[in-house]
Symmetry: C2
Subunit: 332 residues, 2 copies
């Protein structure tokens, strides 16, 4: 027999502990190629909340069926093995879910190196939180020495790791966290500054903590905290959109278009880049366009309006969508 945590009912807004239920479950015998584990440590992650709604992330994914065991990474100790390469006493990590014991195959199961210290690191710096922070700060945001990175949810496992990675790479790390206690802890971990989003004047304090504008925002939360961070970015800033914690708890404060927009960006894994042509137009643009124009590969119709006196009305009409192609004013 083992005990497990299942989804008893869909949370209405903020999760209540009573939305989840413990239940006893009998354990099957260990088959050929399988191992039996006693779970020692279980990772509890914010993004798990996404899967508790019927339609996760505003319909982008299917939610967990009612009655299912909650998913999640865990560290277990092998207590019986009928699989090659696994022996009783081995510590392993995998997505075993919220349970005390499991009989499982070995696909996706990772043996832990005792030389790396506590097996709990496999759920933190050497687990999904660590690789998520690394991927976002280095691969996506491409943090560089001398830059400033803003990190929201900075007191969380992902945010703390992301800020420390920014420091390792020679950047400034500016955290956002809720309350003085969390902010103090974030500073203890080497961040250069930490701004309390629950304090009055938060938006301005964040701008002040990033003189000249930050280059990178590592977003864990979305919503109004994210809006403040976007406003503290300088021109050409990069955003690694890692999570939307403030939007996970149902349709509360962000039920409107902004919430829908952020969920779309997140759930589709989109990359959005606003650009100024003048800044980044490549040198081959005009030669290419000239050739295509000459070859007839591109053409656009012109709407030609006569005389400067016609300009104001032509402009007003264009803005309400009545022009086609290029609107050009012809002067005598």
């Amino acid at each position: 027999m083992t005990c497990e945590v299942v989804l008893a009912r869909r949370p209405q807004g903020a999760l209540q502990a009573s939305d989840l239920r413990l239940q006893a479950q009998s354990l099957p015998a260990c088959g050929e190629g399988e191992i039996r584990l006693a779970i020692r440590y279980l990772s509890i992650d914010p993004f798990t909340r996404i899967f508790l709604d019927e339609q996760a992330l505003g319909g982008a994914m299917q939610g967990l069926p009612l009655g299912s065991v909650l998913p999640g990474a865990a560290v277990g100790e092998v207590v019986e093995s009928r699989a090659d390469g696994f022996s009783p006493g081995d510590m392993v990590e995998g997505r075993f879910g919220w349970r005390e014991a499991i009989v499982t195959g070995t696909d996706g199961v990772r043996r832990l190196d005792p030389a790396l210290g506590s097996p709990r690191a496999a759920l933190g710096i050497l687990g999904l939180p660590g690789t998520t922070a690394y991927t976002g700060m280095i691969t996506v945001a491409g943090i560089q020495a001398g830059e400033t990175a803003i990190i929201s949810s900075a007191a969380g496992a992902v945010g703390l790791t992301a800020g420390q990675i920014a420091k390792i790479r020679g950047a400034r790390a500016v955290g956002i966290a809720g309350g003085p206690e969390k902010c103090a802890m974030v500073l203890d971990h080497g961040f250069d500054a930490c701004v309390d989003y629950k304090a009055p004047g938060f938006e301005q304090a964040l701008v002040d903590a990033c003189p000249g504008g930050a280059q990178v925002y590592f977003d864990n939360v979305g919503g109004q905290v994210a809006m403040a961070a976007y406003a503290a970015l300088g021109r050409g800033g990069r955003v690694a959109l890692c999570g939307l914690l403030s939007l996970y708890q149902g349709e509360g404060g962000e039920a409107g278009d902004l919430g829908r927009f952020m969920r779309l960006i997140m759930s589709r894994g989109l990359r959005i880049q606003a650009y100024g042509t003048v800044q980044i137009c490549p040198p081959e643009a005009l030669p290419d366009l000239s050739r295509w124009l000459k070859d007839g590969a591109i053409h656009i119709p012109e709407t030609v309006v006569d005389g400067l006196a016609a300009a104001p009305q032509a402009f007003a009409d264009m803005l309400t969508g009545s022009a086609q192609g290029k609107l050009i004013l012809k002067l005598p």
Copy 2:
């Protein structure tokens, strides 16, 4: 004497022709190094609207002072020259503004090659619309053969050019335009499909026009049309955010957070990428993290909770922000 168009008063919402005013202006003599031009063609561009508000793009830029000549690209004929390399009869392009004649220095003034046909092309395919389309579709979105690109404001100069560039590169081009007449014109220019945003069922029609999801969205408009296009993108879609025409006309339908968010992205030239760690975590992540952990360069506090029965409440507390660092459940 020349005639010019100036900003008479700030538009309230949609621009009225009467917000602009024609006025006569005397022309100075042509000084050393200067040329005098008779303007032949003037480009009228949607983004000019941005600068008519006191605070452009929601405060990101200063607006045009009242009484100023409207800025814009134009083609002029040199009628007098006291500058090297410019002779009467030459056609030139530059940001001369909305006027009939100008005396100007030659910085930023481009002589036009008569071999490339009409000098009007310097305001279209070989001007800012063309280079804007090129930069967005090729440099920013990186369109590839076989992909599908959605292009909003497809009947405009930038949109039409962007779609034809997608076709030249072997991609499918799906336009969005207002009304059957514009859609027909867009199809005449080689787009594979064009969806009318004023027609009922627009959102679904756009999804249907992009089987499997589009890879690229070239956004000229923002607002609700953009929301529909985001929803028609597949996983990992790229957005080249070129303009926000629907948001230029003041604080109308997009006064809320979504409008503010889109303006911030645009005015700061941001790049936003939502990512899934599992998909793009680089192979060096775990070795790097292991080394940093061993060296003590990264550490995170753990909140360890005992026993499976404590899991539901611990999870609910984390989601409302009371956990610090990594939340781990310890089992016996």
